[in-house]
Symmetry: C2
Subunit: 252 residues, 2 copies
DNA sequence: GATCATAGTCGTCTTCCTGACGATAAACAC
DNA sequence: GTGTTTATCGTCAGGAAGACGACTATGATC
């Protein structure tokens, strides 16, 4: 693949990942600790260089597998396996976003169920699920009272954009099911919405809405009591990807 | 800005523009004729290399100004001047999308009122507004009976994605006003929706909807009869950017 | 084992929004 | 004036959502 380097400025192209999940009623993102400068020791989004023969989505899927072990499927594919939803988010190319050189980062958004434990090259201390609220508060203090350093590079902005994308997209699509295991209850799905939006939803109206939307949920016949209380029906994600009319996010 | 070329594969980064407008009741996109290989003589989306000191949005705004003379304003800025709306669309990086070398293109979407005549370096024959329907039909025949060559590179895909973005975004935002001049009537705005969606809307329900949504339209006090018939009130775009509840796109 | 707490599920009622469509208003062409 | 075109207001029925009451089926507690 010959080219004339004088004809255009050379760029490094990376993919960065906003991997979201819901743990303990909170929206969490995967963060990895940087092992080398710049921003050594700081938390950052997982990511890496795009290889010479890779498409952008391939690179993102590869990084996702390396960091979490999750297989990815695109926005169009159904939620058959236990993989994560993966889609392109946006591209960030400020000339000064990386002090070393000109780097353009194609950010991707991944939504995963709670199950997997993070693994960054097998070193658990260098990867963690952190509440997005905690990752986004600049210069504040975490739950343990330790001062919180902001994310490396422009990753706070990328994370914020990814969270906003997720928040708006579960309104009009069935994407919230990507946060759930293969089989789940209406209540578990509702808790996903509540965690992502940070609001409380009326269980009765929510139940009516999701069970009344054709193609959204398919009953599996089983029930579970894992949430306590009366046994709940188990559902699988249906074929519908678009919700019409959408799920309404409460105002304030 | 030193870097080690062996540490990562070098990429060329370009911006491509999907510039949409509404002319004669049809959604049209700006196309330029390629003057050199590959795809010499074929129509393509305007675009170019990102410069070494430019942000991506700056590069897109520069290309837009070069091709159309339009000033751009971002998604957040109000529609004060006569500029065009400009936002990032998506990034395309298939390893084989450009036969010469590895090129990653950050596509942007611009929405402009009808006014400007295209100018590609002053040569009008090398730039034109074409109905998107015509640009997207692969291997068909245009209105003049001439065979239509598909757009260069993956630009048909990019254009299709841009059109889809515009179609969905005018549902829940006030973005349709970006297709209108500073002052416009309800009927003109309705014709924008009809052209972008390719459907007919009920004038009475549309009028009730847009005038009843707070912050969407601000009456200027003037009237016009430029559409014929009874004089219509003139409006300016209001401060509201999000439409809640959204404008509903008819099914079928 | 009765009681309680918890979560799930079904209904009702009111309100808001939309789609369908009738009716009137104000310009222009002839 | 008559007809045509576009704008604007009004009415009505149907659907969806928010608020909330009521009942059900578990496990936990006394």
């Amino acid at each position: 693949m010959p080219y004339d380097p004088s004809a255009f400025p050379p760029f490094a192209v990376t993919v960065d990942l906003v991997v979201l999940t819901v743990r303990r009623h909170a929206l969490c993102a995967l963060a990895v600790r940087r092992g080398e400068p710049p921003f050594q020791g700081r938390w950052a989004l997982p990511g890496g260089f795009v290889r010479d023969d890779e498409d952008l989505s391939q690179a993102a899927a590869r990084e996702l597998a390396e960091e979490t072990g999750l297989r990815a499927h695109g926005p169009a594919a159904p939620d058959q396996d236990n993989g994560a939803h993966l889609e392109q988010l946006a591209t960030y190319g400020d000339p000064k976003r990386d002090p070393r050189m000109r780097v353009v980062s194609v950010a991707h958004l991944a939504l995963a169920p709670d199950l997997p434990a993070p693994r960054a090259g097998g070193d658990a201390s260098n990867a963690r699920w952190a509440p997005v609220e905690e990752l986004l508060q600049q210069g504040g203090y975490g739950r343990d009272g330790e001062p919180v350093a902001p994310l490396a590079f422009d990753h706070a902005q990328i994370l914020a954009d990814g969270v906003e994308r997720a928040r708006s997209k579960i309104e009009y699509s069935s994407l919230a099911t990507a946060f759930c295991p293969t089989e789940f209850t209406v209540g578990e799905l509702r808790r996903v919405y509540e965690a992502v939006w940070g609001v409380a939803l009326d269980p009765r109206n929510f139940h009516r809405k999701v069970t009344g939307t054709p193609g959204f949920l398919v009953p599996t016949g089983g029930t579970t009591t894992r949430q306590g209380g009366r046994p709940a029906q188990l559902f699988r994600a249906g074929g519908a990807t678009l919700l019409n009319p959408p799920m309404l996010r409460p105002e304030v």
